[in-house]
Amino acid sequence: MTSAATEPVAGVPVSRRRAAWLPAALLFAGLTALTPVQAEIAIGEVDPAASDEERIAYGEYVLRAGGCVTCHTAKDGEFLAGGRAIESPFGVFYGPNITPHPEYGIGDWSEADFRRALQEGRSPDGHHYYPAFPYTAYTRMRDEDIEALWAYLQSKVEPVAEENRSHELDWFARFRPALIGWKWLHFQPGRFEPDPDQSEQWNRGAYLTLALGHCMECHSPRTRTGGLELGRLGAGSRLPDGDVAPNITPDRDTGIGRWGERHIARYLEMGITRDGDFAGGSMADVIDHGTSHLTSEDRRAIAVYLRALDPIEYEPE
């Protein structure tokens, strides 16, 4: 079973020509297959003050902030029962069922399995996930957020007997061990580290943007080998479905430099742009299922963080 992203194409290498990296990755797969996998990440402490109910309610909030619903719920489908198509240069991925159904969902997983999926990009049986599932961002999630999300998914979501749909991938993308090479190149596991020189609001915004919301997965150009261009995070990208995820750095001409914090916060709440237009496409889903459910403080924190990024002059091709 492969999980999927919360935004279409999040984490997916962006163009067919970039498939050229695959032979190298295959070589890597061979070279690294004998390398021991990372040690199991220790389960973090849970806030002892939180009651189960509070934790579960917070878990639902994490689900929204993580944008999970978009990819794990088909249009007009059962909630979180999977089936949403995610286009990529390698074929079509289908978001899997993450309801607590023991056979078709993740009902027979342990919390450690769930944590490992998010933080390491590995399934309970040990295989590697395609980065259509943005574990590259979720690896930064706080342990207590994962725990709360797990509690919510297991206790409040209706189990749905909906079988996962197989991905329809091009031949060269079906060889899953190649993902070891991809991860070696592009996956840096580890929790979010707050910057003590920045405000609490900035740090919250950074966490929401980089870890939970995984905004940069769609809003950044990618390297030839399909990883994020770390020097141009947030500078925008053309997505495999043809839409453009625009530059969200504060460059005045190519980014959102003319947007104030309130414009960004309002956009994440209602989808209205600075000039009165309304988002459609995949960002409308992100807003409907995700950011519109956040508190206004959290939307403002994201705005503060984005406004503080270095402006990058760049327009996606």
Partner: protein
């Protein structure tokens, strides 16, 4: 000139004329649709401009409340018949209109009518001075715009 050559020349002229006329009429149709597209995009920008102004007043408290009715009246007028802005054939590849508009016309009209109804509801609240309803009805109108863009506009 031999007879066959004259015939050939006449046929060529006739063919050229026919082709030319056909080309002219298709250019006219093209121009007409281009003008339609220009008009439609202007209307959409005008709707956006009014929405931006209403948001500044209703959401962010810009001190132009006296003008609110001007904007909501324009939104009512401009959303009255959105489907008429999308005649068949006005889906040139360089517009943001998706072909699904014409493939799924009834659904498209339904969503466009939702925007019309939401604009009327917002304007009614403004006319009656029911300020507590402004943000709610503004959001409803925005969501109706978004719902339609989601399915029928390229982004």
């Amino acid at each position: 000139m031999k007879r066959s050559a004259r015939l050939f020349t006449a046929a060529s002229v006739a063919a050229a004329l026919t082709l030319g006329l056909a080309a002219t009429s298709s250019v006219q149709a093209f121009d007409e649709h281009e003008a339609t597209i220009d008009y439609r995009q202007g209307v959409m920008r005008a709707i956006g401009g009014n929405m931006g102004s209403v948001a500044a007043i209703v959401i962010d408290g810009a001190d132009f409340g006296d003008n609110l009715k001007i904007h909501t009246q324009q939104l009512v007028d401009l959303t009255r018949d959105i489907p008429s802005l999308f005649p068949e054939g006005s889906d040139f590849p360089d517009t943001d209109a998706r072909e699904e508009i014409w493939d799924n016309w009834d659904r498209y009209v339904e969503l466009a009518n939702d925007s019309r109804d939401a604009a009327e509801a917002l304007h009614a609240a403004v006319e009656s001075g029911d300020e507590s309803e402004y943000p709610i009805r503004f959001r409803n109108l925005g969501q109706s715009c978004q719902a339609c863009h989601d399915d029928f506009r390229r982004d």
